[in-house]
Each structure stands twice: as structure tokens, then as C-alpha cells.
């Protein structure tokens, strides 16, 4: 009897051990076929679906190797954190340079001088912030100064958690800084006024889009240019208008190789080719098709380019300094955003 009682748990333990061993084998088996992981930010789902398919076909034609590129999406900062915490990303394509800097600083999986490794400082495309307003623009929003008017409600994501939110914040700051004779104090106050008009701070750019487009909250949604076009496509061009402000920010969503991971996985060759592919004519045309601004305009379809008009864009580095300084001044604990929310309560 006793034997019976003891052996039963042991047998089930053995079964458990077998199950665990099997579970461990599955990802190992999946790795045998070459697979790459691109850890990206939120609004690029549709973009990288096209890019990855194009690259896999290109790679197959050149080397005969079957390559699957998987992409993972989420808020830029949260995605950077998953890479720091050990997600085996081969490449990162994030929303703002400071997120890649954070990976370099906190995990050392990316060299600190990552911006020098690729053409155009690791920027295969750029973007900017435009305004989405309700059809007919009832509040007559034309420029950043209209966002600070007391009767205008602005929907923007939390700059602490969202790269898009940070670009919106920096764009508003840069606009006021240039307008008011390079007075940083006045620019700070201007941004504070805009954030007083924000009734909801979502955690990501997509969340803000839903709040604005689906819940019907707010009068204006400053957002990624590509996201604004996506809303017109998804929710219907009869409900919203895109307003392109005369001045906006030169938004830089950079890409980088995760050196430590590609060396560990033996995918350096493929990952480097993938990043180079982003600068090819084929990829540049895909960027324009998805309403990102390609760096080689001549590679893109002129019909796509016509929707991305030339506007005056400023670089935030020219106004505030390097990205470490920008991050510290605005978004770190006790930075400008924290001060503004404390003053505005």
C-alpha cells in the first residue's frame, strides 16, 4: 500500500519532467530554421509586415536561404525594456533615439556609438507630427498655438510611456522656443498650457487614437503623420481632416543592430543585411507607401510623396542638445513633464 502511494506522485513527477523537457525543446527546434526578430514600436505593424515579406523574398533570391523575420510591436519604451530584460531581438526599430540609447546604456547589448554604424545616423526614414481634427475643423486648429487655447481639448499619449507622446511634447516645445525668440522659460510655460487642455493621457499612441477617433473625445490629436493617414483609412475620410502645421518636428525613429544577440544566435549576417535592406530603393518606396518620409525621395512613388508635403521641420537636438540632455530635461523623474503636471494639478 505504501509503495502505491509513494509511486503515484513520483510517476506524475516523471511525467511532468518529460513535459517540461518537451516544452524546452520546442523553441530550440524553431530556431533551427533561421528566424530573426525585429522589436519595433507601436504604429509600424502594417509597415513591417510589408518590409519583412519583401526582405525575405530578396534574401531567398540572393542566398537561397529561407528566412523568417518576425516583428513584435508595443510602446517604444516598453519594447526597449523587453530587450534590456532579455528578449532575443536581432534588430530594434524604435520610435525615438533615447530608447536605443537606454538599451545601450543599461544592457550594453548595443554599442554606445550605434548611430555611426548605419547610413544617415541609423534613420532609414523620418516622420513628423501633424494634427488630426474633426471634419471641417470646427475649432479652426491651424498651428501649435491653437492647441494652447483654453477651449481646445487635446488628446495626446503620456510622454513617459510613449515615444509618440514625447515627439508631440518636444514639437510643441520647439515651436514655442522658435516663436518666442529662443526663450526656454516661455517654451516650458507654453507646453504647460497645452497639457492643461489634455483630458486623457493614454499610455500609447494607438490608445490616444482610439480615444480621439472612437470615443469622440477632444478636438485635436497631434500624432505621427503615418498614424493620421491610417485613421483616415480605417475610420473614413469623411469624419476627420488632417491639418499640417506650418512648422513641426523632425521625428527620428532609428534602427540598430543588437550586437550581443546576433552574435549569440549566429544571425549577424542576416541581421546586417536586413538593416541595409531598409536603405534600399525597394524599402524606401514601401516607407513612402505607408506615409513615412523616405530619406531617398527619388526611390518613392511621386503619388505617395505628394501626400507628404515639404514643411519646415526643426531638429530638437539643435535646440536642446544631445539625447541624454533631452531625455533628462523633459522626461526623467523630476523633469519638465513632472514639473508641469505638479504645477497643473
Amino acid at each position: 500500500m505504501t509503495v502505491q502511494h509513494v509511486s503515484r506522485p513520483i510517476r506524475s513527477l516523471r511525467r511532468l519532467a518529460c513535459a517540461l523537457a518537451l516544452a524546452g525543446l520546442v523553441p530550440a527546434g524553431a530556431l533551427a530554421q533561421t528566424a530573426m526578430l525585429n522589436v519595433s514600436y507601436d504604429p509600424t505593424r502594417e509597415l513591417y509586415r510589408d518590409i519583412n515579406a519583401a526582405f525575405a523574398a530578396d534574401w531567398k533570391a540572393k542566398t537561397g536561404e529561407d528566412l523568417t523575420v518576425r516583428a513584435s510591436h508595443g510602446g517604444s519604451g516598453a519594447q526597449a525594456r523587453t530587450v534590456i530584460d532579455g528578449v532575443p531581438a536581432d534588430v530594434v526599430t524604435l520610435g525615438i533615439p533615447s530608447d536605443i540609447d537606454a538599451i545601450a546604456r543599461l544592457s550594453r547589448k548595443i554599442p554606445a556609438d550605434w548611430r555611426t554604424k548605419l547610413p544617415n545616423e541609423g534613420l532609414p526614414y523620418t516622420s513628423t507630427v501633424v494634427f488630426l481634427v474633426r471634419k471641417g475643423n470646427p475649432k479652426a486648429v491651424k498651428d501649435w498655438s491653437d492647441l494652447a487655447k483654453p477651449d481646445v481639448k487635446v488628446i495626446t499619449p503620456n510622454p513617459k510611456t510613449s515615444a509618440g507622446g514625447r515627439w508631440n511634447f518636444l514639437a510643441a516645445w520647439g515651436y514655442a522656443y522658435e516663436r518666442d525668440g529662443k526663450d526656454a522659460g516661455k517654451a516650458d510655460a507654453f507646453v504647460g498650457q497645452i497639457y492643461k487642455n489634455v483630458p486623457v493621457l493614454d499610455t500609447g499612441a494607438r490608445g490616444s487614437t482610439v480615444t480621439f477617433a472612437q470615443r469622440g473625445l477632444g478636438d485635436v490629436l497631434p500624432t505621427w503623420e503615418n498614424e493620421a493617414f491610417l485613421v483616415l483609412q480605417e475610420f473614413g475620410a469623411d469624419k476627420f481632416d488632417i491639418v499640417i502645421p506650418p512648422v513641426s518636428i523632425y521625428a527620428e525613429p532609428p534602427v540598430a543592430l543588437v550586437d550581443a544577440n546576433v552574435d549569440a544566435k549566429g544571425t549577424r549576417k542576416q541581421a546586417e543585411a536586413y538593416l541595409q535592406f531598409l536603405f534600399s530603393d525597394q524599402a524606401q518606396a514601401i516607407f513612402a507607401k505607408h506615409r513615412y518620409r523616405p530619406i531617398k525621395r527619388e526611390a518613392a512613388d511621386p503619388k505617395d510623396l505628394a501626400l507628404l508635403p515639404e514643411i519646415k521641420l526643426f531638429k530638437i537636438e539643435d535646440l536642446q542638445g544631445d539625447w541624454d540632455t533631452i531625455q533628462k530635461k523633459n522626461f526623467d523623474n523630476g523633469g519638465l513633464f513632472d514639473q508641469l503636471s505638479r504645477a497643473g494639478r
Binding site: H5, V6, P9, G75, G77, A78, R81, I84, A102, L106, N158, K160, T161, V198, P199, V200, L201, D202, T203, G207, Q214, R215, G216, L217, F331, D332, N333, D338, S341, R342, R345
Partner: protein, 284 residues
């Protein structure tokens, strides 16, 4: 289990399940691996700041306001859920009506629903353009994107706890006891207050504690309806996520440890009240 002449405390209780050593060891190991280990890791992470560092985090006005909001609204929501959960449980066990089983099953739905889905559903319902939100807006109340929205979400997720803990006890109450009370001349009110309610109090408290704990820890459904404005509608779990996005792991762990500490003390207090009422009324 005989209460009056219980022998001196013994480590090993006679039980129908054999293999005490194995089962006890198994239970202890599971508890350590699944519950204590992650909590210990959390406290370890926070301990990097030292006690004074943790106190500093708690005194930061933004953290303090988030903690006040989280615990205050959970308390109010758990109270509401307990009262209405009690009524729901009473109606479901005491009355027979068509569709009772369907309603009974529906009570559990907030358990099963992914919290994000609940949050999105509530937000679209209570937003100023939503079905309920539009009506509320007419009388000048905005529910979604205010602390009121947080309250609504917490009541929603807390209600099943309140119902399910009280329901079996209501079913067990002997009708004879109420009849005896009535025949002895007690008014309906006296019967309710002195006969029916006292044995239910421990269960109501359990339901309250569970709803409260769930509300404090809830993240998924709330961020969709809260508005997330610092100092106004920013809950403590969101602040933890924000700290993580700033790569401030120690700060995040510190807020989590503070929440853990307050929750533990609250639950301990509720357990003590329960133990007291159990002794007082002699019921489960």
C-alpha cells in the same frame, strides 16, 4: 474539530488523506515557489533603495496621490460591491424566478473576461459619447476619464467576489431559525439584524477583502477608463508601469512594496475582524 475540549496544539492532525509529510512538504514548496519567491525578489529589488529611500518614494506627492487614489477608491468600490453583492446573492438564493440560472452564471463573467476587454467596454459605455455617458453628461456628470470611472471599473470586477462568498452561506441558513424567531415574537427587522445577518458577517467581510484586494491590484481594465492624469486619475499600478518605462526598477519596486505592505496590513486587519466575529457568533 470539536471546539470545547480540544487537545493541546499538535503539529500533525489526523486526516483522511494519507502521507502527511509529503503533502505538507508539497504545499510548503508550492507556496514558496509560487508566492513567496516573487514577493521576496520584489522586496529585494526595492531594498536597494534602503528604508529611507522607500519612505522618500512614498512621500513624493505624485506617488502619494496615486496611492491615496488606488486605496481610497478600492475601499469605496469594495464597500459598494459588498452591499450590492449581498443583495444579488440574497435574491439569487432566496427567490425563484425565470432566468435565475442565467443571471447566476452571468455574475461570474467579470472573472472570465480579459480585464482589457472589460475596460474598453466600460470606457465606450461611459464615455461622453457612450450610451450611459451621454445620459450622465446631460445631468453634468462625467464618469469615464475621472476617478468615478475608476470606481465603476472596480465595482464591476469586485462584484463576483462579494456575491460568491456570501451565496453558499445564505443557502445554508435554516428557514426554521427565522420561523422560530418570528414565532418568539421578533419583528422582521429584529430577525434580520439579530438572527439572519450575524452569521453572514464573516463571509461578507471575506468578499469585501477579496474585492478590495482585486481593486487595488487591478490595472488592465482601469487604464482604459481612468484618464490617467497625474494627481487626478493616475492609479498606483500605472505609476509602477511609468517608473519601469523610465528604467527606474528600484522606484517601481518601492511603490510595489509599499502597496504590498498596505494591502497586507489591510487584509490582516480584516482577517482579525473575521476571527473575532467567528468567535463571537460561532459560525464559519
Amino acid at each position: 474539530m470539536t471546539e470545547p475540549n480540544r487537545p493541546r496544539w499538535r503539529f500533525r492532525q489526523p486526516s483522511v488523506i494519507p502521507g502527511f509529510g509529503l503533502t505538507f512538504g508539497y504545499a510548503l514548496t508550492c507556496l514558496c515557489l509560487i508566492v513567496l519567491l516573487p514577493l521576496a525578489a520584489l522586496v529585494w529589488r526595492a531594498s536597494g533603495l534602503g528604508l529611507s529611500g522607500i519612505v522618500d518614494v512614498a512621500r513624493d506627492p505624485r506617488v502619494a496621490s496615486a496611492l491615496r487614489l488606488s486605496f481610497g477608491v478600492s475601499l469605496a468600490a469594495a464597500l459598494t460591491a459588498s452591499v450590492f453583492g449581498f443583495l444579488v446573492a440574497w435574491v439569487l438564493t432566496r427567490y425563484r424566478f425565470p432566468g435565475r440560472r442565467i443571471v447566476d452564471a452571468a455574475v461570474d463573467l467579470p472573472f472570465a473576461l480579459p480585464t482589457a476587454v472589460a475596460g474598453i467596454a466600460l470606457a465606450s459605455l461611459y464615455a461622453p459619447t457612450g450610451l450611459v455617458g451621454a445620459q450622465l453628461a446631460r445631468v453634468g456628470i462625467q464618469a469615464a476619464y475621472t476617478p468615478l470611472g475608476i470606481f465603476i471599473a472596480m465595482v464591476f470586477i469586485g462584484l463576483p467576489f462579494a456575491v460568491r462568498t456570501v451565496q453558499p452561506l445564505i443557502a445554508e441558513i435554516d428557514k426554521e431559525v427565522e420561523e422560530a424567531s418570528a414565532t418568539l415574537g421578533a419583528s422582521r427587522r429584529a430577525t434580520l439584524v439579530k438572527v439572519v445577518l450575524p452569521p453572514l458577517i464573516p463571509a461578507v467581510l471575506t468578499g469585501f477583502a477579496l474585492a478590495f484586494a482585486r481593486g487595488v491590484g487591478e490595472y488592465g481594465s482601469i487604464i482604459f477608463i481612468a484618464g490617467n492624469l497625474p494627481y487626478v486619475s493616475e492609479i498606483a499600478p500605472l505609476l509602477i508601469v511609468i517608473k519601469l518605462s523610465e528604467y527606474d526598477y528600484a522606484g517601481a519596486a518601492a511603490i510595489a512594496t509599499i502597496m504590498l505592505g498596505i494591502s497586507f496590513l489591510t487584509l490582516l486587519a480584516i482577517n482579525l475582524i473575521q476571527a473575532w466575529s467567528r468567535r463571537r457568533f460561532g459560525y464559519v
